[in-house]
């Protein structure tokens, strides 16, 4: 199938699209944690790196098949998600975000100091096993999984936690357990994304997984519309492709990219597709959601 792609697309587009697919998987994971469950995570890139290193080391040291490496990457990342989540998920709002930010930086520093990850020299020579076909399939699986998760008893409890923790608990939801499950699931997808990333780029360096990248992921989902699957997809696509499309402005590229983020946010404060739900897109009856602010507002 990859050869079919390469008949229509050159390698550059394939590379860009594969990268986009990987980011989509990870961003959808973050959307589950932050968008759906309302738990701020500023450390998503660190989870991506855990998955990336895990899979890379498995491929390099144990020579196991790629699928095994990917699965292990997801699981290992989920385990770390749980280990981090357990103590920190009782923190609320921004404090949780900050704890995850801190965790992310610690992970980076640890990878920088570890022998098996190659430290600052990085880890090279990872086989290029990631293909566009495989990424597309995994993106679809991720979207389906996210859709099913969200539209289920489990998903409802996540949204309830986001909306009002105290009421959710009073309705019989085990807050801690549910949050941690959401965290584990979200980080699992980050881990899988990381595994794909490692086997696409073939070289890993802790510096590439700093907090700036974590905020990239956050920007993807907020700009797309928090909690909305189509939103996360659109946001990720726009922000991943924008730097490529902006190449023609050469040296002003990142400047324009930064302003574009500000501008898009101001024009669509609830995100490009804020409030749009996949289930509603397909439902026959359209339910109107109303804006929260008054026509004029104060000042």
């Amino acid at each position: 199938m990859d050869s079919i792609f390469s008949m229509f697309l050159n390698d550059y587009y394939i590379q860009v699209l594969t990268m986009l697919g990987i980011y989509l998987i990870a961003a959808l994971g973050l959307n589950l944690i932050t968008g759906v469950t309302g738990q701020l995570s500023f450390g998503h890139a660190a989870f991506l790196s855990i998955g990336a290193y895990t899979s890379a080391i498995i491929s390099l040291k144990l020579q196991l098949p790629f699928v095994v490496a990917l699965l292990a990457a997801g699981l290992m990342t989920a385990i770390w998600g749980i280990l981090l989540g357990y103590p920190t998920l009782r923190l609320t709002g921004d404090y949780l975000g900050i704890a995850t930010l801190g965790f992310g930086e610690i992970v980076r520093v640890v990878f920088l100091n570890m022998k098996i990850t190659g430290g600052a020299l990085g880890l090279a020579g990872i086989p290029r096993s990631t293909s566009l076909t495989m990424v597309i399939i995994l993106v679809f699986i991720t979207i389906l999984a996210m859709f099913r998760l969200e539209n289920s008893r489990f998903g409802r409890s996540l949204i309830a936690i986001r909306e009002d923790e105290i009421a959710a608990e009073a309705m019989g939801i085990n807050i801690t357990k549910t949050k941690i499950t959401a965290f584990a699931l979200g980080t699992f997808f980050a881990g899988v994304g990381g595994g794909l990333y490692a086997h696409l780029i073939q070289y890993l360096n802790p510096q590439d997984f700093g907090f700036v990248k974590s905020f990239d992921f956050l920007a993807f989902i907020v700009l797309g519309g928090l909690g909305s699957i189509p939103g996360a997809i659109l946001g990720t696509t726009v922000l991943t492709l924008a730097p490529e499309f902006l190449r023609f402005v050469a040296d002003y590229r990142m400047m324009i990219y930064g302003l574009l983020m500000v501008f898009m946010m101001i024009v669509r404060p609830r995100g490009l597709l804020g409030g749009v739900k996949l289930s509603r897109l397909f439902a026959k009856k359209k339910v109107q959601t109303t804006g929260t602010s008054a026509s004029g507002g104060a000042n």
């Binding site: 920190t88 801190g102 920088l112 930064g258 946010m265």
Partner: protein, 290 residues
């Protein structure tokens, strides 16, 4: 040795504290982690260098000019990038802030080039002996200026009504307006103060470390933010305490042989503190009332 390292830590911490104050004040009022704040600090440092080299001004004038320039910048940013988002989800202005931070950083790279530039030599490197420790002239200046600025801030917030208005506005814009508070002005004022302190921090750091670079805001901003949270975000004394705490801890960490983990020290401390005091050292505990 130890006392020398503590002094190093306090000086570093004082600069963190200056930046942290801006984070904490802005957060305190609009619950925004103003990620462009590190960039304001960076611009402040560049304005300082510019004043000294191009206009041949002394340190005091340059410091004042940098603070003024950043006040204008901070207020403008708030007006155009954050105010339109005030009533939307809390993460919207955060993304706007990240976009701005990318913009300012690349803009400065474009203007001044990516290379760090040396901070002009405005004074002798004099060393004074204080018992077992040596303190440099720059360190004295940093400590004095930082203390004066923080004392001034403390005064404004404590004894001038604006402090209370800031707290009220942080909770509820509409009801604050019903109290006769000009919410927009209070928020602009907050950005003005925070930005001016960051600019001061930028100039002092330039002076202390002898260089300024378009990327200096990234790590310093992150550390300062960490300091603000550690102290209890929203709390002004907390930001000062957090800044000093991280400055000293980091310095002692290096001295104690954990230098390779330096950047993790601040965050490890932060997480530990948060686990035991979920709202930071001086943060008010969250009251749960149903």
């Amino acid at each position: 040795m130890l006392s020398q390292q503590i002094l190093n830590g306090i000086t570093l911490g004082a600069t963190y504290a200056l930046i942290a104050l801006g984070y904490t004040m802005v957060y305190g009022i609009i619950q925004l982690i103003n990620f462009a704040h590190g960039e304001i600090y960076m611009v402040g440092a560049f304005v300082g260098v510019f004043m000294i080299t191009v206009f041949q001004q002394g340190l005091v004038v340059s410091l004042a000019a940098a603070m003024l320039a950043c006040v204008i910048m901070g207020v403008t940013i708030e007006r155009f990038a954050y105010r339109p988002l005030r009533r939307s989800t809390r993460l919207a202005p955060l993304i706007s802030a990240i976009g701005l931070s990318i913009f300012l950083q690349t803009l400065m790279t474009k203007i001044k080039g990516p290379q760090p530039i040396p901070f002009p030599h405005v004074m002798e490197d004099a060393l004074y002996k204080l018992g077992p420790i040596e303190i440099s002239k720059v360190q004295i200046i940093i400590l004095v200026v930082a203390s004066l600025l923080m004392a001034g801030l403390h005064f404004i917030v404590k004894y001038v009504k604006i402090g209370k208005a800031m707290r009220a506005a942080s909770e509820d814009y509409d009801t604050s307006a019903l109290m006769g508070i000009n919410v927009n002005r209070v928020i602009s004022f907050t950005f003005a103060i925070g930005s001016s302190l960051a600019a001061a921090g930028g100039v002092l750091v330039g002076l202390y470390f002898n260089s300024v670079s378009p990327f200096m805001g990234v790590t310093a901003g992150l550390k300062a933010f960490c300091a603000a949270v550690l102290g209890g975000i929203g709390s002004i004394p907390g930001a000062m305490l957090g800044g000093l705490f991280i400055g000293v801890a980091e310095t002692l960490g290096i001295a104690g042989g954990f230098d390779t983990y330096k950047d993790a020290i601040a965050f490890t401390l932060l997480i530990i503190v948060l686990l035991f005091r979920p709202t930071g050292l001086l943060g008010r505990p969250i009251q749960k009332k149903v």
